[in-house]
């Protein structure tokens, strides 16, 4: 609603912006202002925004949400802008893990706590963060690789599809897959290539692999659902049925597990993750102890339990969001961040 109001204000001309109820940044502790910059409004992030908004509302937080549209330059400016506005805390889901050093330092120098979420921050500036709330990508990579290896009876050829190279999610998930492969020397990694998180690209890549390796491919380990779905289409076109595992648990991913085109996925719940980042920021502002690193363990979704999660997240999302602030508090209090 607020954005509608602002949109109307813009349309009527800047003068009316006066009346649109813009709250000045520096506010009191009971009503903190938190600036949050995300890399891009993907469907995953959009779901996360609902969680973040819910937690913000439950805590009387004025959450300033901006998207960097995958542009490093834009995100740098957005953080500087938050510093200028003297917000009470900044939450960053980085476009790139290696580029925000000077801005994180500047925020710290201005006395503004910075929390990173979803994307790891590399380098020494990671020490300047109050907290990092993100997925345990290494573990997720290990879990999905393990499931695929078990599904093919511990031996045979597999292919692995990476996300866009250089992103922390890709680096860590690839690490996890490699960790698991190292434990299973009888499993042969035929090929590992980036599908860039993208369905059409992964469709083509899978086709090429099928032409090259044919029936030697026993399983596909994809680093996200979109790639598994794209590749799954190529498998379906060729009439091939192999084990397909992935990560994320987006709606289409869970659907694919339901209808059998995907064998397993690992649920990374954006609403919980970004909601928890907001809660950590609030707790820190209230002087409470917060975890330096809150790694959320992803939940393994298999044909056995997929209906439960699908129902929870995609049939009754409003109920889930309603209960989310309490769930996030419970997760934080327990130190085990896997309640769903």
């Amino acid at each position: 609603m607020k954005s509608w109001k602002c949109l109307t204000a813009l349309a009527l001309g800047a003068a009316t912006a006066l009346g649109s109820g813009v709250v000045p940044a520096s506010a009191d502790k009971a009503h903190p202002v938190i600036g949050m910059t995300v890399y891009f409004m993907s469907s995953w992030v959009a779901w996360g925004q609902q969680g973040a908004d819910a937690v913000a509302k439950a805590n009387n937080v004025d959450l300033r949400w901006v998207s960097a549209n995958q542009d490093v330059n834009t995100q740098i400016s957005q953080i500087q802008q938050f510093i200028n506005q003297k917000v009470d805390a900044i939450i960053i889901a980085a476009v790139n893990s290696s580029t925000l050093g000077p801005q994180i330092e500047a925020a710290k120098a201005a006395g503004i706590p910075v929390i990173a979420t979803n994307m790891v921050i590399f380098g020494k500036e990671a020490n300047d963060l109050v907290s990092y709330v993100g997925p345990d990508d290494v573990a997720a990579g290990e879990t999905e690789a393990k499931y695929a290896i078990d599904a093919i009876g511990g031996k045979g050829g597999i292919v692995a599809m990476q996300g866009a190279l250089g992103y922390s999610a890709e680096i860590d998930r690839t690490q996890g897959i490699k960790n698991m492969l190292a434990k299973h020397p009888e499993v042969k990694l035929l090929a590992m290539q980036p599908g860039n998180w993208d369905r059409p690209q992964s469709y083509n890549l899978m086709q090429d692999w099928l032409s090259r390796y044919g029936s030697d491919v026993k399983a596909l380990v994809a680093e996200n659902d979109d790639m598994a779905i794209g590749a799954g289409q190529a498998l379906k076109d060729k009439g091939v049925s192999i084990a397909v595992t992935a990560i994320d648990g987006i709606k289409d991913g869970l659907r694919a597990v339901k209808n059998g085109t995907m064998t397993e996925t690992n649920l990374q719940d954006a609403a919980i993750e970004l909601g928890m980042a907001v809660q950590v920021a609030v707790d820190h502002l209230q002087g409470k102890e917060v975890p330096q690193k809150a790694l959320l363990k992803m939940l393994e979704v298999t044909p056995a339990n997929v209906d439960h999660y699908y129902d929870q997240l995609y049939v009754h999302p409003d109920d889930f969001i309603k209960g989310l602030p309490d769930l996030v508090r419970k997760n934080l209090a327990s130190g085990d961040y896997s309640f769903q």
Binding site: L18, N73, S77, G123
Partner: protein, 341 residues
């Protein structure tokens, strides 16, 4: 004087004076309307700035303007180059890729410590951009490949090289000397100073030199330009090379600011640069427009983007507003031109 005009005159002179006055008033109102339309962009910008400044204390601060200028500076370099190319009737789709490639090349050099390495990094990054631009220029001017295709091909190749050089990873761990390139001389950050200098030089070149006249001539009427002895090939080659060099400059400063060379940086920038130019009244047909128009274009995009963030407008609506501004600006411009003709 034509018959009809004469007739109108006669009628007008014989008409009662009150009707004359009324006619004058209508004219005046039309003039006001045309004035508002003509200067709608600067007016919108002004209104926006004043409104934001009144409603939000943080907008009118020196540091916020520095943020805005720093944010627009990468696009500013590209928009200046793009303006020159578009004035000749061409288009340069390679500049976004050049930003990425130049950043990667500069970063690879700047991983070595020292002032010399930093200097080489800057020169190397800019030169690589110039090389890509010169390649496009050669393809367009000599090989007669259409600019759209030539620059698209150059972009794809440049991206490929960038991926090879960086293995797709961000190149970080850059020397302090190189990071100082995006720092400040006193309170003015170097990218902003460089932006002002580039704009001033480009404006001088286009308005006060033979080169500038020829650029307009090539885009406005190539046949006439050829007859008049303009070296069309040379001009075309030069504008793409300049655009490439400016792309390199953009890539190097951005790389220093981001503390890493990343090949995907700059993806889509070419479209923002083209948008800035056309918002500022540079005609895609060539031969019409100015650097100052392009400056207005990227300032509007930058200020409106900054303002919408300060007003906490949802990113989704920001895209819609940006799209409306682009189309609205070009529509107004073409409407006024039709009327003039």
């Amino acid at each position: 004087m034509s018959m009809s005009e004469q007739l109108t005159r006669n009628v007008a002179s014989s008409a009662p004076s009150s009707a004359l006055e009324k006619q004058g008033a209508t004219h005046r109102r039309q003039d006001v309307a045309r004035f508002l339309l003509r200067y709608s962009l600067p007016l919108v910008l002004l209104l926006f700035v004043v409104g934001l400044g009144l409603s939000n204390r943080t907008f009118f601060t020196f540091s916020n303007f520095r943020v805005i200028l720093l944010e627009v500076s990468p696009i500013a370099f590209l928009a200046v180059g793009e303006t020159m190319v578009i004035l000749t009737g061409g288009i340069d789709l390679s500049v976004g890729a050049i930003v990425g490639l130049s950043g990667v090349v500069a970063a690879l050099i700047a991983q070595n410590d020292g002032a010399w390495a930093a200097t080489f990094a800057v020169v190397g990054g800019v030169a690589v951009g110039g090389l890509v631009g010169a390649t496009t220029g050669f393809l367009v001017s000599v090989a007669k490949v259409p600019p759209f295709v030539a620059s698209l091909g150059a972009a794809t190749t440049a991206l490929g090289f960038g991926y090879v050089f960086s293995e797709g990873r961000p190149i970080s761990g850059l020397s302090d000397q190189f990071l100082a390139v995006s720092g400040g001389i006193g309170p003015v950050p170097i990218p902003i100073a460089a932006m002002v200098i580039v704009i001033a030089l480009a404006w001088l070149a286009l308005t006060r030199t033979m080169f500038g006249m020829h650029v307009y001539a090539v885009g406005g009427n190539p046949q006439a330009a050829r007859v008049a002895g303009v070296k069309i090939r040379k001009i075309r080659f030069l504008v793409y090379t300049i655009s490439g060099l400016l792309g390199g400059l953009s890539g190097v400063t951005l790389c220093s600011r981001a503390t890493a060379g990343i090949i995907t940086t700059g993806s889509g920038y070419e479209l923002n640069a083209i948008a800035a130019a056309v918002i500022g009244g540079v005609s895609l047909m060539g031969g019409r427009g100015s650097v100052l128009g392009a400056v207005l274009g990227f300032m509007i995009l930058g200020v409106v983007g900054n303002g919408m963030n300060i007003l906490n407008i949802s990113p989704f609506y920001q895209l819609i507003i940006k799209g409306v501004i682009i189309v609205g600006a070009v529509f107004t411009d073409s409407y006024l031109n039709q009327e003039r003709e």
